[in-house]
């Protein structure tokens, strides 16, 4: 019967320290990726492989399958938002809307993304910033 286990498949100390890679946060995964592939652009690598596959399909007069097309669309180098696909635009918006982890320079932004209730002090800061913004807009529209 064929052996379907890798020899030495038990986790070593580094595996234990970092845990299951599939469960890593994006931040920790980035950290490890920078160690194993410093300077390597993942999207460029995916694009190159998808491009190679697409060329092979086209040489056989076949349309590249969905996964190749999806990879090409998602990893295409974008110079302006006019060229971006709806899914790419959605990804950009999602990333912009995602809560900021760690210290932020704009307190209103962190309050806006906090999960719990705002207390009076939080509300006062937001009201103050809102007033400031209104004044700025009024000044701009008056010019």
């Amino acid at each position: 019967m064929p052996n379907d286990r890798l020899p030495n498949d038990e986790p070593d100390m580094l595996d234990k320290l970092f845990g299951d890679p599939a469960s890593l946060s994006d931040e920790d995964l980035d950290l490890l990726y920078d160690v194993v592939a410093p300077g390597e652009d993942p999207l460029a690598a995916i694009h190159q492989m998808a491009e190679n596959a697409a060329v092979a399909y086209r040489k056989r007069n076949q349309v590249p399958p969905d996964q190749v097309q999806a990879a090409l669309d998602a990893t295409r180098h974008i110079n302006s938002l006019d060229q971006a696909s709806p899914s790419k635009l959605r990804q950009i918006v999602d990333k912009l809307k995602a809560p900021v982890r760690g210290p932020v320079s704009d307190p209103a932004f962190s309050y806006r993304n906090r999960a719990g209730e705002l207390n009076d002090s939080d509300q006062a800061v937001i009201d103050e910033l809102t007033e400031e913004l209104k004044e700025d807009w009024e000044e701009e529209s008056g010019e």
């Binding site: 379907d4 020899p7 030495n8 890679p21 599939a22 596959a53 999806a70 899914s87």
Partner: protein, 188 residues
């Protein structure tokens, strides 16, 4: 609708590279499997995925694409080891005869694990925080939330644990241990 359009390709590729580096590291200290590096393994998996007419049959209902491709990655690594077996010995003895081929010394599985542990302790000697981090790692239960568990053991937040790991990885010898940098050096 294209069922592949929501794949996070950036994360997928990074994950495969990290998983492959771990497989190569565990399979043989300081070398690649069957002269395949972690990068070669990932390229092989992605080629298989792209050249498959149905994306290896993946759909969201069957689980994550990450889980599927990590499984394929492991199978490919086993295939490479099997091929190596025909050249240099038994797969079960992969750290006996096979490991000796072209290697200065054999690395038995237990020896390899002890080596990594000993080398890590050696590399962080004198840095109490990192020594504590390694000691706490030995106590881990193997749960999913490693940073949380380490944080509880070290009385730190998960973020502080993550920062400690970052500090650990900044040590050159540790980087080499994790990344199998010897492979890259041999190949360039």
């Amino acid at each position: 609708m294209n069922r592949f359009q929501n794949i996070d390709w950036d994360r997928l590729y990074k994950l495969l590279r990290v998983v492959a580096a771990g497989i190569v590291r565990r399979a043989r200290i300081g070398d690649a499997i069957d002269s395949f590096s972690a990068e070669d393994l990932v390229t092989e998996i992605m080629d298989a995925f792209f050249t498959s007419s149905n994306g290896l049959g993946w759909s969201e209902e069957k689980g994550s694409i990450e889980a599927l491709l990590c499984g394929v990655l492991k199978k490919k690594a086993i295939d490479h080891l099997r091929r190596q077996k025909h050249v240099a010995g038994s797969l079960d003895d992969a750290f006996g005869k096979v490991a000796q081929a072209g290697k200065p010394r054999a690395a038995a599985p237990e020896r390899a694990r002890v080596d990594i542990k000993a080398r890590l302790y050696e590399l962080v000697r004198g840095d109490k925080d990192l020594e504590d981090l390694l000691a706490a790692t030995e106590l881990l239960s193997g749960g999913h939330n490693v940073n949380q568990e380490l944080g509880e053991l070290l009385n730190k937040t998960p973020k502080q644990v993550s920062n400690l790991k970052q500090r650990l990885l900044l040590i050159d010898g540790v980087k080499e241990l994790y990344a199998e940098r010897q492979v890259a050096q041999r190949r360039t």
